[in-house]
Amino acid sequence: MRSRHANLGHEPVTVRARELKVWEALNLALDEAMAADEAVFILGEDVGLYGGSYRVTQGLYAKYGEWRVRDTPISENSFTGLGVGAALVGGRPIVEIMTVNFALLALDAIINMAAKLRYMSGGQFTVPLVVRMPGGVARQLAAQHSQRLEHTLLNVPGLRVVVPGTPQDSYWQLTQAIECDDPVIVLEHELLYNDSGPFDAEAEPLPLHAAAVRREGRDLTLIAWHRMVGVALEAAETLAGEGIEAEVIDLRSLRPLDLPVLVKSVEKTHHALVVEEDCRFAGAGAEIAASLHEAAFGALDAPVERVAGLDVPTPYNGLLEQASIPDAGAVVGTALRILTPRV
């Protein structure tokens, strides 16, 4: 590939920090990937000059120029489709959709094109496309800006869907997603970007789709991802005070699902609870519960339950908004109910 801007031979910033923020880790992964492979380019609204709504692409426009960090018009379906077209002929595009709420406009490009082209072409084409997008309930952004898209994307053969929540995972999983020859959806969470966490650039990465046990326990398995991992860990602390040891699993990937890790945990704890920020009815938690029942029915002393968002559009009012998504108290309450032997 011939580069059109002057400063060739970039070296990514060398980072040996012990702590990074999530957005910084994502930024580093992008920077390294762009330095390593000139086929990698970024496009999206305000990813360039502005540096990204959540700073994730900060500094890259100055470093790699407008052709590799492209500010787009508000045309989600077409610029995502642009990514698909470029991926067909050798590009490795990274599309940023400013938030998942706007991805509803780009689903034709994601579902009807990106996910199906390899199969429909009899395996002739690969679609090494990454679509990054943040979602979730943030701070009073109201119904049109507080959504999650897991349920829609999980059912689509051809896609991979990952949900990194820590700086380390964000770095690892975005790097792996860019290297992967399949279309990968990287779901980020708006409230996690400024979270700091330990970071080691040299550490051996976990596989892209592996789940991680964040806390060991013997009585109950709490299954979560993104911001709900923190909620689950908080609940686990409280439960520990009651003598209950909860195991907390961070899924990290939703398609595929690391079921073996869940089954192993449930064989020990005999109880499981999915903690999901999205609305309960037909959310990702439904698949997690259904498949866990199928795989570990004999080990379960009680049904896998779900503590999840209410089945309402997200309200603007702050109190109502908080009431619409799970908190540690709700997790603790449900956990105690599950673990209380029924008479």
Binding site: D46, S78, L104, A142, V312
Partner: protein, 325 residues
């Protein structure tokens, strides 16, 4: 110009400026959350265009719609209370800044996904035409929104079926941090109507009287059954895109140049010069505006929060795992 109208323009624009300043303050104090998109610099557009409307006309607007809402008749109290998320807000506290609604005033929202105002507006226009009503629907949109596919799709249908829609582009030259020359190949939005045969016109969006006159003409055209029209108002926002944005992508020179064309100040000076208004009257307005805004803030502060998170998801509620009707 009638003195009464000039006074109205000035009142509206001064109220708008003050109201948005108060909203910014309240945001800083933590009483307002979420995304807050303010209007300073663009007052002449909402005021000039909507003062030409009849009470029966409908409005479909964006997330930057506080001023549209107030000029269309929603009280500053109801708007401010909505920004506070209170039960007394015009959307009961469920919508917030980006989703103002008022059924009575025919204010149909408040859409936060860029480009949604087009289909909603042609839907209203379709109904008006199908049922032979004489009202017009206003469709506001930004320069960035003109790149969304719905612009093209909806203008085509509006033209095909001669729907009574007045499309008003608030061209403030920016799509957040991306300047119009970097997001639109032909940065004159009024020229984008050629594929539909819709008349397009550009007007100085910093001049309230010009916007008013252009809107009156456009409304007459649309109301006469000639189908839709598009008005591009050339304007500028003085603040960042939202409270989260400093606007650092714009040069100081540019901002300075546009500040010199401040629609509120320039109209005030002109109204004085033309003798449409006197200094004392302006002082009265100033006072009235300050009181109104202070009252709106106080009202919002003292209003209760809504208390039922499950209300109004459905017109006919049911249990999700329930069976029934």
């Amino acid at each position: 110009m009638q003195r009464e109208l000039a006074r109205q323009f000035l009142y509206d624009m001064m109220l708008a400026r003050q109201f948005e300043q108060a909203a910014a303050d309240q945001y800083q104090q933590g009483n307002i959350a979420g995304f807050l998109h303010l209007y300073p610099g663009e007052e002449a557009v909402a005021v000039g265009s909507l003062r030409a409307a009849d009470a029966g006309d409908y409005v479909v607007s964006t997330y930057r719609e506080h001023v549209h809402a107030m000029v269309k008749g929603i009280t500053p109290r109801a708007v401010m209370a909505e920004l506070f998320g209170k039960a007394t807000g015009c959307s009961g506290g469920y919508g917030g800044s980006m989703h103002l609604f008022d059924r009575e005033k025919r204010f149909l929202g408040g859409y936060a996904i860029v480009g949604e105002t087009f289909p909603v507006a042609i839907g209203v226009g379709y109904w008006l035409r199908m049922t032979g009503q004489n009202d017009v629907v206003y469709c506001f949109f930004g320069d960035g929104a003109a790149n969304q596919g719905t612009f093209h799709e909806s203008l085509n249908m509006a033209a095909l079926w001669k729907l009574p829609v007045l499309f008003i582009c608030e061209n403030n030259h920016y799509q957040i941090g991306t300047e119009i020359h970097r997001h639109t190949a032909v940065p004159e939005i009024w020229r984008h109507t050629t594929p539909y045969g819709i008349p397009g016109k550009r007007v100085d969006g910093m001049d309230v009287a010009a916007v008013y006159d252009a809107t009156r003409d456009a409304l007459a055209f649309v109301r006469a059954g000639n189908g839709p029209m598009l008005l591009e108002c050339d304007t500028y926002r003085y603040r960042g895109h939202s409270m989260a944005d400093s606007g650092a992508y714009r040069s100081a020179l540019e901002v300075q140049e546009l500040m010199a064309r401040d629609p509120v100040r320039t109209f005030r000076e002109r109204a004085l010069a033309e003798g449409w208004i006197r200094e004392t009257e302006i002082a009265d307005i100033e006072k009235q505006v300050q009181e109104t805004v202070a009252d709106a803030v106080q009202f919002a502060e003292q209003s209760p929060d809504p208390d039922d998170v499950r209300k109004d998801v459905y017109a006919e509620p049911f249990r999700l795992y329930g069976g029934s009707r």
